[in-house]
Homo-oligomer: 380 residues x 2
Amino acid sequence: MPIDSPRTSLQIRSLVKRSGELELSLAEDAIPEPQADEVVVRVEAAPMNPSDLGLLFGAADMKTAKASGTPERPVVTAQIPEAAMKAMAGRLDQSMPVGNEGAGVVVAAGNSPAAQALLGKTVAAIGGAMYTQYRCLPANQCMALPEGTTPAEGASAFVNPLTALGMVATMKREGHKALVHTAAASNLGQMLNRICMKDGIALVNIVRRPEQAQILRALGAKYICDQSAPTFMQDLTDALAATGATLAFDAIGGGKLAGQILNAMEAAVNRSATEYSRYGSATHKQVYIYGGLDRGPTEFTRSFGMAWGMGGWLLFPFLAKIGPEEAAKLKARVAAELKTTFASHYTKEVSLREALRLEEIAVYAKQATGEKYLLNPNRG
Amino acid sequence: MPIDSPRTSLQIRSLVKRSGELELSLAEDAIPEPQADEVVVRVEAAPMNPSDLGLLFGAADMKTAKASGTPERPVVTAQIPEAAMKAMAGRLDQSMPVGNEGAGVVVAAGNSPAAQALLGKTVAAIGGAMYTQYRCLPANQCMALPEGTTPAEGASAFVNPLTALGMVATMKREGHKALVHTAAASNLGQMLNRICMKDGIALVNIVRRPEQAQILRALGAKYICDQSAPTFMQDLTDALAATGATLAFDAIGGGKLAGQILNAMEAAVNRSATEYSRYGSATHKQVYIYGGLDRGPTEFTRSFGMAWGMGGWLLFPFLAKIGPEEAAKLKARVAAELKTTFASHYTKEVSLREALRLEEIAVYAKQATGEKYLLNPNRG
């Protein structure tokens, strides 16, 4: 690393104390010398995705958040409900870095050709601890971005694009012919909609409010079902019958939606049934819960027969399952279509210190559609 | 068929009327002449399993049951709650025969060698409509019982034994090393316990009451967790940690139990975790719901990470999945161990008319452990 480079990097830390308190702060660490296969990325853009906020806030009730510390080193504390502390057992009293992914410029590189090839390049990177000014990580966790791509444009090149492509790939692997997606006006949902339109896959978009339906309508989505409409279950069943979708990806998790989807799928399948089966249709109906926008309990009435499944879905085990060759194909598609199919939109760019302001937390912690923040750790 | 054989057969019918009324009755039908590959079985024993009762009673509230008809031809009617009528749509106004399986003597056979070979034999049979005096069905849906086996001993030779063996086979196919079973003191649960003891498989038995724990303890079960004990979650987690069980078969379906099992599995797996993962353990945890003793909603709090699944499990699709060769192996084992591993116990034997008495329905409709009825359609 050049002699005039910074030696330390400021980063966001999240600490869950045994006492039931969450503490967010900034820590300054030495930047390691990169090993042969490593590079140091000056991080200029990192999305604040729901999965990042899950680690950042833990199970804390952010309505109880209080500010302390100094303007230079702000500290935020919040209370964790006692019932939720059990789930925090594995991270007690450990100061954890945050940030799944981000993008920036490679300012130092180890001796290996792979690392050297990235020096000076703008790259997207994945590997955790990205909410930091300088991140030292293996070169193979970076993806060189096409010429003319800014860090902001490449910040979300991994999680959302690969998750959306993973949904389509899962549909094909598991023998379904169309998809259902919830919270469908999200950045991820818009990407999925673009992929499905481009690839000719029928997609049933479930949204929570009319404004979100409007966003998707403007993007050309064909099947949009608004949970707030009194005709929601009928609309959903009609869309499922029209598309034949028997696989859903649910970002919400809590409440009754996952079960409603299975019930509507069963009703749609049974529209063409010729005889009664006490066990319901033989068609397998599946909902994968990949997010937890509603952390409350999941509840469903099993009136959808016996051929059903519900389960968790997570990107990294999926990538491990398909293997490096298939994963590389997905990544190549992301790089090629980063500014079109996989474009992301952010409400606001914030610095590390701004990200710890209570008034900003109050906005981005809501995880509302159209309120996604982009963190720039090197913003002054 | 010999000339002096009966020409008609009395059978139980279940009818869901569009008006929201369930009607149970006896119908008398002509016994068909067996085709070349068919046999006529004089049914002398048929178990009243939960899956049979599901078809028999539909979604009716049997607390509203009323008797009418004549002593010779009793009729029972009951009301179906309006909310449940939607699930009945496929069977409206169809008088349906009942009874998955049973056993009896082959009194007539078609010309084929396979059918002729069964003539005069005591057989177990599966194929629906077994709550009848004489059932004409394909010879290949019958299994000749070993010499000296009574119809009562062979009545439950298909559903429970193959379901219990199917659970163990599923465990092996899906890479789990031990099992959890709920409502574990049932006939099926006792069978599963005997299979697991014989085969050296660790089985965690979950029961609802101390008396049921006692039944299993007397049978030599090692891991028994009583839901009514204040230490239930702790006991369950301990048993899961000791056995490494990550697959459960749940007969109950409704309520919080399925989710509690996943939570306890996650806690058990995390006892040996070395570092925190925000996504929970990477170990896949699965609950298959194969019954519906509680028809109410299923509710769970997702504090068991992302590597989980819940779903329906049904015997016939499972047998189709493993193919005829594997299925034949399971059936051969059942025949060989029918009086030991796969022995069933019944509270009471009833005739067709007795089965439609309100006082009997009040007992067997509860589906309580140790209250299983055996129907003998040829009992006077």
